[in-house]
């Protein structure tokens, strides 16, 4: 990252400017009292805020992750250790203590900024939710801003240290008060200006990552749509003269898209729900049937499950044959303990007793199949009332009556 590009970041700009202003004030104050030597020492210290201005944003970027946050805590700890060393060993010159004070203050600002950023990010996410979600969503919010408090403490401590270090030089002049005022104003300015800017910069970084993630997702969806929906639309245009074919294509595509959106596509037919969906779709394509399908729960596809699917296929074919064009409702309740599948059509219905026994379709393909795996099948129909085939396996849920 070049200096020019850093300069465009307002957080960096403010950090550098305020740091320089602070140092300049210090230099002017000390030059008035101690002459060129002290002023030179203070000027040398100007390197420090510039270094801080460069290092803190860089550290923020590098340490953005969850681990980085805890690493940030190492900064005040290291500063405090340095501070102790200096206080113990310092006998002359304000340079080292001032350096440490600035470092400590910088770390404090970072801590406050990080805390604020996390809190404002949460607030923004909350504002986007509907009132319903706000009422019901469960979230973890750290109750006490201990991190910001630690930052503030660090800044206060650094201010005291800076004053203490520069104090002996100035004790005998009226400049001490002036320096104190300059330092306090500088620190206050630092906190007031820097914190919002840091927060803003960090939030912008978050937004950029969010935008990137959205773009990736968009590309993924676009690729899928190209392979599925656009292909189907092309087919639809070719067969525009055949309304039945168009409707069938549209239904097949709709079902596939729904399965993909629900994340079922990857599951394939490894489960009973997947196999049921696939079978219904297959019959719809072959027989020009339109079914409203609701499947609750799921279970692994075992041998009885396969028989159930085969029986359901037969029931759907019967519905398509005997009630062409009538709406068909498929309702399935699946669980580890059992399965129940209801196939109901709003067709003309028929009188069961009047069906000749040689009509073996229902008997073998549905009732026989289910009995073969320990399940049951019942057909419920009356003239004018539509027909329902109920298929049950194991401890079927909701099978309160026949």
């Amino acid at each position: 990252m070049t200096l020019a590009s850093r300069w465009r970041d307002p957080a960096w700009r403010a950090t550098a400017l305020i740091g320089l202003a602070l140092l300049l004030a210090l230099v002017v104050a000390l030059a008035g009292r101690g002459g060129a030597r002290v002023a030179a020492v203070a000027l040398a210290g100007a390197v420090v805020p510039v270094a801080v201005a460069v290092l803190i944003p860089a550290a923020l970027r590098r340490l953005r992750g969850a681990e980085g946050r805890s690493l940030l805590l190492a900064i005040p700890v290291a500063a405090a250790a340095l501070l102790l060393l200096v206080v113990v060993s310092a006998d002359r010159g304000p340079l080292l203590p001032l350096t440490v004070a600035l470092l400590g203050a910088g770390a404090g600002v970072v801590l406050i900024g990080d805390e604020l950023r996390r809190r404002t990010a949460g607030a923004a996410a909350r504002a986007e939710r509907s009132p319903w979600q706000r009422m019901t969503a469960v979230e973890r919010v750290r109750a006490l801003p201990w991190q910001a408090a630690a930052g503030a403490l660090l800044i206060g401590w650094s201010t005291l240290l800076g004053l203490g270090a520069a104090g002996p030089y100035l004790a005998d002049t009226g400049l001490a008060l002036a320096l104190l005022v300059v330092l306090l104003i500088g620190m206050a300015g630092l906190v007031l200006v820097l914190v919002p800017l840091l927060v803003g910069a960090a939030a912008r970084g978050d937004r950029d990552r969010l935008l990137r993630a959205r773009e990736d997702e968009r590309l993924r969806v676009a690729a899928h749509l190209h392979d599925s929906v656009l292909q189907t639309l092309a087919l639809v245009q070719r067969q525009a003269g055949d309304p039945a074919a168009v409707a069938r294509l549209a239904r097949g595509q709709e079902r596939a898209l729904r399965a993909w959106m629900a994340g079922e596509a990857e599951l394939g037919a490894a489960t009973l729900a997947g196999a049921l969906h696939a079978t219904i779709e297959e019959v719809e394509q072959q027989q020009r049937l339109e079914a409203e399908v609701t499947v609750l729960g799921d279970r692994p596809l075992d041998e009885p499950g396969r028989a159930l699917v085969a029986a359901a296929r037969e029931a759907l074919r019967n519905a398509a044959r005997h009630a062409p064009g009538a709406p068909v409702v498929v309702f399935a309740e699946l669980s580890e303990r059992g399965a129940a599948v209801y196939v109901r059509d709003e067709g003309p219905g028929f009188d069961l007793a009047a069906v000749p026994s040689e009509r073996r379709g229902v008997r073998d393909a549905i009732v026989g199949r289910m009995a073969g795996v320990g399940g049951t099948a019942s057909v419920d129909s009356a003239a004018g009332e539509g027909t329902e085939v109920a298929l049950r396996l194991g401890d079927a849920i909701g099978g309160s009556e026949g």
Binding site: A125, E128, R129, S130, P131, W132, Q133, R134, T136, A137, V138, E254, R258, M261, A262, E292, T294, L296, G297, P327, V328, V329, F331, Y342, R344, E346, E385, G386, E388, I397, G398, S400, E401
Partner: protein, 222 residues
């Protein structure tokens, strides 16, 4: 479910809220003979203004809208006695989209692929203050109430009676109220009142599974 419309008089007035212009135009054309479409809106903000101004009998409300979704509109009219009847419609068919809409005050839910007679039936029902449960909504609601409630939460709002469960189960299987009444040996009106009490429980219950859907949605939206 098309065992005729009940009560009411005259053509119901309708506001269509959907962010797809083509869909609104399609519904308007389909319903032109049976209903008076008195307003359209594409966002919750527009919808609240249009509904307040036009005071329709029924609002067809899409689940997925920009700026807060259909839920935002329902929240704005929640608890207002003079509000219209809301009929939610969606292409999504996901329980976590549909159940919160009904929880927030919609009196029914239909999929966008519903045919015109069934849609008219649904509009007439909610206009008359009755709930309209499509087979799929009944299935979702059954699922939401299916697991046994926590021992502490044995509030009567938290569970369905066996009879309510039976009625919902039949709706999920595609039976009309009349047929359900005949099968269970009760009148269609009684079937209706069972559905009404399920709707009430759905909107008032504090069941974990019901809240959970909304919470999950909140997390997904982030």
């Amino acid at each position: 479910m098309s065992d005729g419309t009940a009560g009411g008089g005259g053509r119901p007035t309708l506001v269509i809220v959907d962010d797809h212009h083509l869909f609104r135009a399609g519904v308007r054309a389909e319903l032109a003979d049976a209903c008076a479409v008195v307003g359209e809106a594409a966002t919750p903000g527009e919808a609240i203004a249009v509904i307040s101004a036009a005071a329709p009998d029924v609002v067809l409300l899409d689940v997925h809208l920009p700026d807060g979704g259909g839920i935002a509109v329902l929240e704005a009219f929640r608890g207002r006695a003079d509000g219209p009847a809301f009929l939610a419609l969606s292409v999504s068919d996901a329980a976590e989209d549909v159940v919160p809409m009904v929880r927030a005050g919609a009196r029914g839910y239909v999929t966008k692929t519903i045919d015109t007679p069934a849609l008219l039936d649904a509009i007439a029902r909610v206009r008359d203050g009755e709930p309209y449960f499509s087979p799929r909504l009944a299935a979702f609601v059954l699922q939401a109430f299916s697991s046994p409630p926590a021992p502490a939460a044995d509030d009567e709002l938290d569970q369905l009676t066996p009879r309510e469960r039976e009625v919902l189960h039949h709706i999920a299987r595609g039976y009309a109220y009349k047929a359900i009444g005949a099968r269970l040996g009760i009148s269609p009106r009684t079937v209706e009142s069972h559905v009404g009490s399920v709707l009430r429980k759905l909107q008032l219950s504090s069941r974990h599974e019901l809240s959970h859907w909304a919470a999950k949605r909140g997390l997904v939206d982030r």
